[in-house]
């Protein structure tokens, strides 16, 4: 892990732990542990290095061998004759998940009670920029004079950037997720497949929550395409064969900002008073509290906090990329 990403995420973890108290709303935070499976000796080496880098930053990480993984998730495929045998895994015991709706509702209610106006069904149609300074925002329900704007619109960053005559190092793509019918408790961890792109956990209602790859082409359509879903679930069944017996309850697709190095941007822009928070790729939910905290700091103080200093817009120009996977630009291609 790059230090910038590790320290930022760990700061977020601290905020997650007390979020239900801070918001006075049960977000059902569940630090149940995440296991990333490894399917080769090479991958075990990479995970050992990754685990060490996490521990050096004070984050818990445990490297598990095959037998230890089998004890925790016996329903995974440990038979001899499989294409991607499980060699072991990297577990972060303190990681986990939360109820996404409750997080949105909790934030909205608390923000509202603190005097924030939340205006729904209101489209931004343009901006007033005079002499390099932001002066106002035009919307479908009227114009608003402003001194500062925080642009935090995952999935529509490109569209609004165009209204500001900016091009950003982002493409807008479609990501699907799905849930099965509810079943009795079977999986008490979040597990990811290491030979492809697939994750799974079980919700409190018993549904298996699953997802993986992007649909793979620029899209603003908030609906998924079957070939990708089939590919993702094929990986899931390779990892946990019992999934093939479950019926699918719901699938849905959402649009997201794919940044060119896979890491987000929280920064000032060349327009005075305009602040940018975008490029969260697949990982925006986990970052919610840290993203909000550092963005608020950046807007209020008109300078970045050291936690988001690495998430600069300028890094694509200077070459200080936060390329966690080492894939170079267009991380969505893999």
């Amino acid at each position: 892990m790059h230090d910038d990403n590790a320290l930022f995420s760990e700061f977020g973890m601290d905020l997650w732990r007390k979020m239900s108290q801070d918001l006075n709303y049960n977000v059902m935070f569940s630090p149940r542990g995440i296991i990333n499976l490894a399917h080769s000796d090479a991958q075990m080496n990479v995970f050992a290095r990754r685990g060490n880098s996490m521990r050096l930053n004070g984050i818990d990480a445990v490297l598990l061998n095959r037998e230890e993984v089998k004890e925790i998730i016996p329903m995974a495929d440990f038979s001899d004759n499989v294409r991607f045998p499980i060699f072991g895994g990297l577990m972060q015991p303190s990681a986990g998940t939360a109820r996404h709706d409750a997080v949105a509702w909790g934030y909205a209610r608390q923000a509202d009670s603190m005097g924030v106006d939340i205006i729904q069904n209101c489209e931004v149609t343009g901006f007033d920029v005079v002499g390099g300074k932001i002066q106002g925002v035009r919307t479908s329900r009227g114009d608003i004079k402003v001194k500062k704007i925080g642009l935090c619109v995952a999935g529509s960053t490109n569209v609004l950037a165009e209204k500001l005559n900016m091009t950003v190092p982002i493409e807008t793509h479609l990501l699907q997720a799905c849930v099965s019918e509810p079943v009795k408790p079977v999986l008490d961890k979040v597990v990811t497949f290491g030979a492809g792109h697939f994750y799974i956990s079980q919700s409190d209602k018993g549904e298996m929550v699953m997802g993986g790859d992007l649909d793979g082409y620029n899209s603003y359509a908030q609906r998924g395409n079957l070939p990708t879903l089939q590919h993702v679930l094929t990986e899931g069944i390779a990892m946990m064969p019992f999934l093939s017996k479950l019926k699918m309850l719901r699938t849905w697709g959402g649009i997201m900002d794919m940044s060119m190095d896979g890491s987000p941007i929280i920064d000032k822009t060349h327009i005075e008073g305009l602040y940018l928070n975008c490029g969260w790729c697949y990982g925006g939910f986990k970052a919610t509290p840290a993203s909000g905290w550092t963005f608020a700091h950046t807007i209020a103080q008109d300078r970045v906090h050291k936690l988001n200093a690495g998430y600069s817009l300028n890094r694509f120009h200077t070459g200080h990329l936060l390329d966690e996977k080492g894939l170079g630009t267009k991380t969505w291609i893999s």
Binding site: E162, V168, G216, Y217, N218, Y220, N225, F316, T329
Partner: protein, 88 residues
């Protein structure tokens, strides 16, 4: 499932193709002075239009040719496909 008309092979399913991104991005010319901003625009910055989008696809499980496709990114409607060497 998208159905893409390969100009060489005819109408085929999307899963025979792989995606190659924005077709309007141009590599800066060789042996000429190139500003950092030009490189940024070539390597990183994208318009990612909502609406009609000109893009590259490769018919990787077919004739393996690159083609250009004009597609609506909001509706997924495909308007036109041409060979990579042709203008769209």
């Amino acid at each position: 499932m998208l159905h893409i008309k390969c100009p060489h092979c005819g109408m085929r399913s999307q899963n025979e193709f792989s995606y190659g991104g924005d077709a309007t991005v141009k590599r800066p010319e060789l042996n000429k002075e190139v500003s950092d901003q030009d490189w940024d625009n070539f390597v990183y910055n994208r318009k990612s239009l909502r609406g009609k989008h000109k893009e590259l696809w490769q018919h990787i499980s077919g004739c393996r040719q690159w083609i250009k496709v004009e597609r609506d990114t909001a509706t997924h409607e495909i308007f036109k496909t041409v060979k990579a060497s042709e203008d769209i």
